[in-house]
Symmetry: C2
Subunit: 205 residues, 2 copies
């Protein structure tokens, strides 16, 4: 049974690899904006779960594998009453950091796990998890240095937990892997939902 | 200015590297048991901070660097009223997991940051951080598979957050890097205490 990660995120791939699973990576070409426009009244949890499901389904239909598990993912930061993705540029990243420094946000990740048997989608499990993030308060000089690295402009919410941004996150309440974009305990539960025990997916080395 | 990590832990080195710092690694040969025996009434926080300080000081005196920052670290899991380190064997790891599954523990990490100027220890900052860990509830088959990997016997408390054990941790309350053994936000503050801004330690790539 192959594991397929339906995401281009290097951070998600790193988490899975560190946790013993070597997935194939297949990136879906889902039109996220169009999908979100179709569900304007959805909650943040519904939005990320819908996107994760669409990505996983697209990939599951494209791959040519008889026996596989496909993991779809989508993450957004809920902060100051709005859902934010990647900052458009350094100016927007700075503005957001100034607003969220010393405060909290909610990182919402949705997952869909699809079990492919005989080349067909056999079972589906979906869910989401929320982790509260408590932001630190970088000085002006630190924020300048952080923006100069380019990292904030590449990630939802303009921060990371597992890279340079980790210096500026005081703590979380919830699953930290969820903040990075792939919640290990949630995926473990969803795998059970499609009849798979996660330890059977661990590489043998 | 060189950064020196006074720890043999690959997980601590990984965290620092992912967070933009490439340290030298110099492992101290502190007799931890003897040190702890000398402070029997110390709190968990005092114990890990004392050990971190002893490790960093030993390394700072040994290295031959004019201009450096030395980071010392020590971590313990406080669970069920006792402080636990690495399990002695698989049987003890299984017993501990059975006791802590579905419950919580407190991961306590102490750090000492020493500023070396002109080859001498110039300034010192010490502190500790506590992160609550909420353990999942692995099935017997999952726990067997986890013990078979050997991972639990190599780490304090018999679990990891950033490797295979991450599937079995439901969440944390506090800084997750503290659980892995190197608290980025705490080290950032201690660096300020010795007059160093963390972003000045980031590699330039």
């Amino acid at each position: 049974m192959r594991v397929v990660l339906a995401s281009a995120s290097p951070a998600r791939l790193s988490i899975l690899r560190a946790a013993g699973v070597d997935p194939l990576v297949e990136v879906s070409a889902v039109d996220e904006d169009a999908l979100l426009a179709a569900i304007p009244d959805a909650t943040p949890a519904e939005k990320v779960t819908t996107l994760a499901g669409a990505k996983a389904t697209t990939v599951a239909r494209r791959i040519d594998l008889a026996d596989a598990v496909v993991i779809g993912c989508d993450s957004m930061l809920h902060v100051g009453g709005e859902l934010v993705g990647r900052p458009a540029d350094a100016a927007q990243a700075r503005q957001r950091w100034r607003a969220m420094a010393g405060g909290t946000g909610e990182l919402v990740t949705g997952h869909a796990v699809l079990r492919v048997v005989g080349g067909e989608i056999d079972r589906v499990a979906e869910g989401h998890a929320v982790t509260v993030v408590r932001f630190g308060d970088p000085t002006d000089a630190e924020l300048d240095a952080y923006l100069d690295t380019g990292e904030p402009m590449q990630v939802a919410g303009g921060f990371t937990l597992d890279a340079l941004g980790g210096w500026f996150v005081e703590g979380v309440d919830g699953d930290p892997s969820n903040v990075v974009g792939l919640s290990l305990p949630l995926v473990r539960r969803l795998l059970v939902g499609v009849g798979v025990q996660v330890t059977d997916l661990w590489r043998q080395d």
